[in-house]
């Protein structure tokens, strides 16, 4: 069965990767960060991708987000195969189906929170009624409606990451990919951002994948995938209710 056919038979799979291999360089300088990764992201789930430095997390995230092409393997995103797509084709796919949240927020410093969100709306070329209002609604949905006119320099780290999440959400992409979303945040803000991503993942039409080192984020995960040395070495589905009960017992 091909990847596309498989994805069609599993309607809640929004992203499916099979046998992903990535090789950089050639000859003696060759680097192979991914050696055959199978992974899928399902709607309504927050998946955490965990692994040590150099395990291939960022390369895998780049391939899943259609920023890099795999050297081998197949990727299907929201029913679209990436096979044979050039850089512009990949850009078109991620424009339509992927929202990114970056470790360093990557907001545009010269634009307000609303404008940052509107910029993503422009990139996605999604027609909406009253675009500024739509952007403000996106900010309100992450609890930042009152900071809509603020420039990034006037926002706290947590607020910046919330703007980044609103930007990722605008246009309703099927998949949200977050790269170390809590790494630059203190404990409280990190927890709040993960709680927000967990809420985002509850949308039955959306899957969220977060790369993280932060063990405090485990309790928000529907699924945890561990990667080491370019291979998926483990997958677990923690019992969120049990975790909630144990933490409330403390």
């Amino acid at each position: 069965m091909t990847v596309t056919q498989e994805a069609k038979t599993k309607p809640n799979v929004l992203l499916e990767a099979k046998g992903i291999v990535k090789v950089f360089g050639s000859g003696e300088g060759v680097v192979k960060p991914l050696k055959g990764v199978d992974l899928d992201l399902r709607a309504g789930e927050l998946t955490l991708l965990m692994g040590p430095s150099g395990s291939g997390k960022t390369t895998l995230l780049s391939i899943l987000g259609c920023i890099l092409s795999p050297t081998e393997g197949y990727l299907n995103l929201a029913g679209n195969s990436t096979e044979g797509l050039d850089a512009e084709g990949l850009a078109d796919l991620r424009r339509q189906h992927v929202g990114f949240v970056f470790q360093g927020y990557n907001l545009f410093p010269t634009m307000t929170a609303t404008e940052n969100v509107m910029l993503a709306l422009d990139v996605r070329a999604k027609p909406v009624v009253n675009p500024p209002g739509h952007a403000v609604e996106a900010l309100e949905s992450v609890g930042l409606g009152h900071r809509a006119k603020a420039f990034p320099a006037k926002l706290s780290g947590g607020e910046k990451q919330r703007v980044a999440i609103a930007r990722a959400l605008i246009g309703s992409p099927a998949v949200i990919l977050a790269d170390e979303p809590t790494a630059a945040l203190d404990g409280e803000n990190g927890q709040a951002v993960m709680a927000l991503l967990s809420q985002v993942a509850q949308d039955p039409n959306r899957a969220v994948l977060a790369v993280t080192h932060d063990h405090r984020t485990l309790k928000y995960a529907d699924r945890i995938i561990r990667i080491e040395d370019g291979y998926i070495v483990g997958e677990e589905r923690p019992d969120k209710n049990a975790h909630d009960a144990s933490t409330s017992g403390h």
Binding site: N106, V123, K126
Partner: protein, 399 residues
């Protein structure tokens, strides 16, 4: 982080009243990038303004020079010119053999003819000292070339004995202050009875207008001699046939059309002397300097915002979208630079209006400058576009 959250967004598309529309943010991003770094903006604008002013002045001087060189020809109304063989320009006169006017009038197809006597002469200033002038003698009653832009006195005043007209631009060179003063031309007394304004000479020798007969006397020409014969043809005449007939009859003289004589004069002064080439080279230099400065600042600005462009690329922006942002930034710079540059250029032109320099700004030149400025900034944007084309969007994950 206490704010209430509900990260389920309204779906894009028709919802409630109003028509769904896409938002355009590339221009705003370009504008913000441009104005974010004021110092960089000032450097960019300085480059563009310098370039616009330099090119405007050089081109304005070129057009002004062309107008000065061709001024006498443009004021004359005729179809064919009979000139001494080898004449390089109107301002390089010598005398014809004589009787050309009558030879021309007896040629079929020639309706009328007027003679012009033009020659270098020594002008002795009222308070001492001598300077060279170009004396222009013509028929002020029946001819077409006569002093224009008269601001003091009149054409009728030139009928008086020893009367001449001079341009007020050259008062200082001629050692005079006002109408009515007297001087000497080739040791003969003359009186200034009319003053023109703005008739400047490319050779810097002041034009002195007088009657045809007086010019002959002052230049020691015989009564049937002239420097040029300007002919008007019958409306039905074939200029080529008439010209051939005249050339046959007037050996050792040249017969040219009005435009040929104009082009020869302009070509001689602007290109054979190198003056025009210097002006064009100056304009080209201004363009090159402008391109280099704008390219450097735009490249630097793009480098400063590279992380943002990489983020845009990662968000799915096409290469064309990013190029659009850079080009809009370049075009905004061009608009600003052009506006300031034109204001400064017009100021320079206004300040030079009473000097020997004729700098001209025409709507055509203003339009050309605008197109050049836009082109210059777009060309300058190419290096920045090459830079962003090589962005690796995967780099956003390591920042």
């Amino acid at each position: 982080m206490q704010a209430k959250t509900n990260p389920t967004l309204p779906q894009p598309g028709p919802a409630g009243g109003g028509k769904p529309k896409t938002v355009k943010m590339a221009g705003k991003l370009a504008y913000r990038n441009l104005f974010h770094d004021r110092l960089s903006l000032i450097v960019t604008l300085t480059g563009i303004v310098f370039s616009v002013v330099l090119v405007a002045i050089q081109c304005g001087l070129y057009i002004g020079s062309e107008r000065m060189i061709a001024a006498m020809l443009d004021q004359s109304e005729g179809d064919l010119w009979v000139v001494p063989l080898g004449t390089k320009s109107f301002d390089d006169p010598s005398l014809l053999m004589g009787h050309e006017k009558y030879a021309a009038l007896s040629t079929p197809g020639v309706e009328g003819a007027e003679e012009l006597v033009v020659g270098f002469a020594a002008w002795r200033k009222p308070k001492g000292g001598t300077t060279a002038v170009l004396l222009v003698g013509s028929d002020h009653i029946n001819g077409t070339l006569k002093p224009w832009n008269i601001v003091d006195g009149s054409l009728d005043d030139l009928k008086a004995p020893f009367a001449v007209a001079v341009d007020d631009t050259y008062f200082a060179d001629l050692g005079i202050d006002k109408i009515g003063e007297t001087a000497e031309i080739n040791n003969a007394k003359v009186r200034i009875t009319a003053v023109t304004h703005g008739i400047r000479s490319f050779t810097t020798l002041p034009y002195v207008f007088t009657s045809l007969q007086r010019a002959r006397i002052l230049l020691d020409a015989s009564s049937n001699q002239a420097s040029y014969a300007l002919l008007r043809l019958d409306p039905d005449a074939d200029a080529g046939v008439v010209r051939a007939a005249l050339s046959e009859r007037l050996q050792d003289r040249e017969v040219m059309t009005q435009s040929e004589f104009r082009n020869r004069s302009v070509d001689y002064w602007l290109f054979q002397t190198g003056a025009g080439s210097a002006l064009i080279a100056g304009a080209a230099l201004g363009m090159i300097v402008g391109v280099v400065i704008v390219a450097q600042t735009l490249y630097s600005s793009t480098k400063d915002h590279l992380n943002e462009f990489a983020t845009l690329r990662a968000l799915g922006a096409s290469a064309g979208y990013i190029h659009k942002v850079i080009l809009i930034q370049a075009i905004m710079s061009a608009f600003l630079g052009y506006g300031v540059g034109m204001v400064l250029s017009l100021l320079v032109i206004w300040l030079s209006k009473d000097t020997n320099l004729l700098i001209v700004m025409t709507p055509g030149l203003a339009l050309l400058l605008f197109a050049l400025t836009i082109g210059m900034c777009v060309v300058a944007a190419i290096s920045a576009i090459f830079k962003v084309t090589r962005i690796d969007p995967a780099g956003v994950f390591s920042r």
